[in-house]
Every structure is written in structure tokens, then in C-alpha cells.
Symmetry: C2
Subunit: 349 residues, 2 copies
Amino acid sequence: MDKVRVAVNGYGTIGRRVADAVLRQDDMELVGVTKATPDFRCLEAEEKGIRVFSVSDKSAFDVKGFSVEGNLMELLDASDVVVDCTPKNSAYIELYRRFPSLFAIFQGGEKHSLTGFSFNSNCNYSRAFGMKYARVVSCNTTALCRVLSQIDGVYGVKKVRVAIARRSVDPGEGRKDGLLNAWEPALEYPSHHAVDVKTVMPKINIVSLAGIAPMTIMHGHMMFVELMSKPGSSDEVSEMLSVNPRIRVISGDDGFSTTAQIKDYAESLNDGNTYEVCVWKDGIGIDDDGELGMHVAIDQQADVIPENVDAIRAVLGIACAEDSMAKTNSSLGIGRKLNRLVSEKRIVA
Amino acid sequence: MDKVRVAVNGYGTIGRRVADAVLRQDDMELVGVTKATPDFRCLEAEEKGIRVFSVSDKSAFDVKGFSVEGNLMELLDASDVVVDCTPKNSAYIELYRRFPSLFAIFQGGEKHSLTGFSFNSNCNYSRAFGMKYARVVSCNTTALCRVLSQIDGVYGVKKVRVAIARRSVDPGEGRKDGLLNAWEPALEYPSHHAVDVKTVMPKINIVSLAGIAPMTIMHGHMMFVELMSKPGSSDEVSEMLSVNPRIRVISGDDGFSTTAQIKDYAESLNDGNTYEVCVWKDGIGIDDDGELGMHVAIDQQADVIPENVDAIRAVLGIACAEDSMAKTNSSLGIGRKLNRLVSEKRIVA
């Protein structure tokens, strides 16, 4: 089979990670990426041999000596699917519609109504087949869908209350309207996160509260999960979660006392990306009512990347869920390290 | 009646605020405070005319030219009650026992078992009478007791899930083992906060999760409160909360978008202290199950101060709960400003 020709529109925080991931897929070809401004990301692309297409005045790139292959229209014309990583509400969908055979994957910053279909690999991969336009839900929603679908399959979820301590800005954003030394609550109940989970898991009873903390590297979730049946133990819960390679079970006892250690580990092993949602094994508890409490950490820049790769295969129907996820996981190094550490420990103990 | 003679053992973050508050009570006399190290707080005390007693070598104070009136034993001998604001586990209780008529108030860093009685003005004031030793619960527990007793009295509380985004260090602690740019979950469920609430409200069903964020000025609570009866509206809930002068109803719409604005307001009006627990009016919501969601902010240095003042009167039995709280509130400027703003708005609307 020919490789799927992929365009990435927008080579920023998410776009450059999607591009890197596409480069690692043996069934995909990265046709190119777009840039609106001639900045350091052009150098990144050049170093990686990625072709850059311009969505603005090409001469601005020429002046700086950055090579540009053509414009967005030319890129789309040469592609089977475009992954839209432009800022939210940038409304490129109208442009994409001009290419009748082009599929498009959008990010979670867009509204569900843009595509009418919101995607998560664990929850609704097979429903994506044939959808011209799909939306990969946001990092927080992706994390919740991943963890809750796993829990629901085993114990049944009655109601979820989740409190989210969000990062203020991304690590690469030096001066974007950040928050310093204060707590900023999102003044809504439920926050949009619970509402967004329902675009993927319509039957789940979930509410959320969220606030922003002055940090950049990850989000923290505090989850209260009311269950249909009571888990045998917190160890049982962590084993159950670790079955999903995209859920990484970590431990404060192994030195992961804050999100900083998770990030540092990822810097050492995976270009700084933690594609897995991280659950602290020693933070899992079961209360007198059989309700589950747990702490989860989410790399807001990375956890949606494997879903974007899967979404490409899902809409085109070139692989089933299991095969796509296995391929994505293997190519991105997902799920191979810490979960093994956990099982080895179990065997030894 | 003679004024109650109060000693404050430990003139630090809490101690200096307790001392300031005692100075404002017309039924109390501040005999003096203790210092272990000769530092800038001695100058603060001197400026305020507060007598300093030493718990360490007096000569170290003499060298720096700080005046010391005597030692801790002399201070205790001249006092009816000591408010212990020393670091937790400093075990002064043995010393206090040597003074048979001396009452002692401890802080929430101590274990409940130290005194066997944990105090909150709204919950169990009258039970304190005659207790030689009482413990004012921590800032987070005080806030939860205050808010939940108010809600429970009106709607009945079925179960509470609270997620706490804690400040890392206090504003005055420049270099104490702080947290930078990361989220640090407390790896336990429930966290000690829920357990501690039960020392004051033994019948309440409450669980909690907590984490530390890199900020100094306040804690943020995200509360999910399951109720016996459904509130009519979120406005009704905020009106109900504002009945308690120690709960300040604020609004993002008035400019309180983060804890930084709350702190700035307090700097302008009340020496930086927010004695009231702050609830965002526009953050209150009621979900489809009739469950309440809300955001609360807590000034960890200030909310326990009125409780310490009340606890003195409560153990000595010199005022009933209502009178003591009214006197404390009036002397500390509690509850007079923003709640009025809220009611005026209501009348206009």
C-alpha cells in the first residue's frame, strides 16, 4: 500500500510534535509543514529535512534565508490528510473543503461542532472510519478519556469528580500572558473539561473544577471516581491501569515526587515528551464507600500526539484500532519502560 | 472583669498575627511574646510596644541590642493563657503543665491527640469551655469547617470531595524548601485534610486530595459537595454563605480573577490579612444531580487568627460563641466590606 501523505498545518508546540511522530510511522509520509512566521522553527525543520510551506508572504522567509517549498494550497494538493495544528478558531476548514479527497484532523482547541466528531483512540477509534473531519480532544480530555475508559471497563464508573490544576503556559512560551505566584480558578461548574469528555463518552456522569497554577510543565488531575463495584485493593487498580500502555504507572517511591521528575525523565529518554498519562501508584486510594481517589499528571504537549497519529489511520480506515495503537506506541516508545519496571517489581515481590 | 492575660509563645508567621489580634481585644492583655532567635521580628515587637521574652540564650539578644524582658517561664507565670505558635512537635505542653492554672491553645500543625480537642468557632465553641488545652485546626481545616458547617445547616451535607491546590511556602519564607514550576501531589487518599475535618465534625463524610503548586500567597480549594436537598440556585447558595461574616463572597466580575487580587485588596485594607474564607460567587454551580461545585481561596496565615482569639474566650468561658465571634469580627474588620457590596448589588438588582 502507498504511504499516507500527511501535511501538518502549523509547526508550533503541537504541530512539530505531530510532524516528528509522523516521520516515525512506516505507513506515512510527511509531505511538509506550514509556517506563518520566519523564526527558529524553520531551522528545526531544515535540520530534520522537513519541507516548509508558507501561509504568508514568502519573501519574509527569503529575506532570512529560510527555504520555502511553496504555499499551503500546494501542500494540501499533494496530501491525503492534513493535521491542523493552527491556533484555535483559525477556520481553515473552509479551505480544506476545496480539496474533495482531503481528510483533516483538528485539535481540541476547536469546538466539537466544527467536525461533529471528537476522537480518542481508546474510546471510539472505529467510529472515525470515513469521517472527513475529526477532532482529537484536548490534552486534559484525552487523559480523562484514557483513564476513565480503562476504569469503566473493569469497575464501571458511576460518577466522576475531577479537579484540575492546570499549567499556566507551555514551557516554550517565554512571555505569553502567564500567571505568577497566584491561583486562578476557572469560574464555572462544571468546567469545560467535563463537558468535553462527554463529546467522546456521552454516557459518562462527570463533573469538573479547574484552576491555573504558576507552572509550565504538566497539568495535575485530582480524581474522585465513584464506581459500580469496589476494587479489591489500590494495587489491583494500578495493575488494571498499567494494562493500557498509554497509562504510565509511576511511584513517588521511585523518585517521582513532582511533575518535574517526570519531565526530567522524559528529557533523558524521549525528547522531553511524556506521551503516556501518568498515575501515581502510591497516590491511589479507596475510601470507605469504595470510591477511588487518585493523582494523575498530564504532559499537555505530548499526550495527544499518539491520538493524532491514530486518528489519521482511523479516518482513512487503513488499520484497526489495535494495530494502529500498537504501531504508534512502538514507534514513539510508549509504554515500554516504567510499566515493565512495575511488573518486574511485582514479580520480585 | 479583669482582662485575660495572654502570652504568645513563638513570634513567627502565626504568632505575630495572634499577638496583633490580641492587642485589638478589649477583654485581653498581651503580656508578651517569645523569640528564640534575635532577628527582625524583635524590631517589629519593639515598634509595637510588645514585650519580648527569650526562649534561648538572652545574651545573643543583648549583643544585637534587642531588649528582652525575661524568659518563657516568667512570661507563663504572668499569664492566664498561652497561645502556642511554635513549630509543630515542639512539645511545650510538658512545660505548660507545670503551671496548673495556665490554659494553652495550640495550632493545627499539632496532632489532635496532643489535646484531644480540636476547635472551630462555628462548629464546637461551646464544647471548649473548661478544656485546659485546645487545638485550633489548620488553615485548610478551619476553612473547610467554616464553609461546610454553613452548608450543612441549610442543605445537609451527604458527602464532600475536596481537592486542594496548596501554596508551597508562606510569603515571608524566602528560601525554605520551596517548589518551582512543578505540581507535587500528596500521595495519599484521603489526604490528611479530610481526616482532620473529622476531628471537629466527626459525623461528616468527607474525602480529600491535595497537591502543592509553586505559589505563596493562598491555598485554592475545589469543592464537590453532595447535598441532602438541592439548592434553588447558585445565587441562593452564595447568599446563604455570606450570612457567615467569616465567609467572604467575592466575584471574578469585580476583578478578583486570581488569589493575587485578594491579597492586594487585603494589603490595602487589612495589613495583608484575609481572615475570611473567600468563595467565588461566579464559580458556584449546581450540577444535574443537585450537587454543588465551588472554588474557595484561603489565606493560610490569617484565617485561623480569629479562631485563636475565640478559642481563648471559649476555654475560659468568658463569652458565649455569638458574643466572642462578634467581638473578634468587629475588632479585626471581618465581614464588613465585601459581603455588604454583595448585598447592595442584590438590592439594586
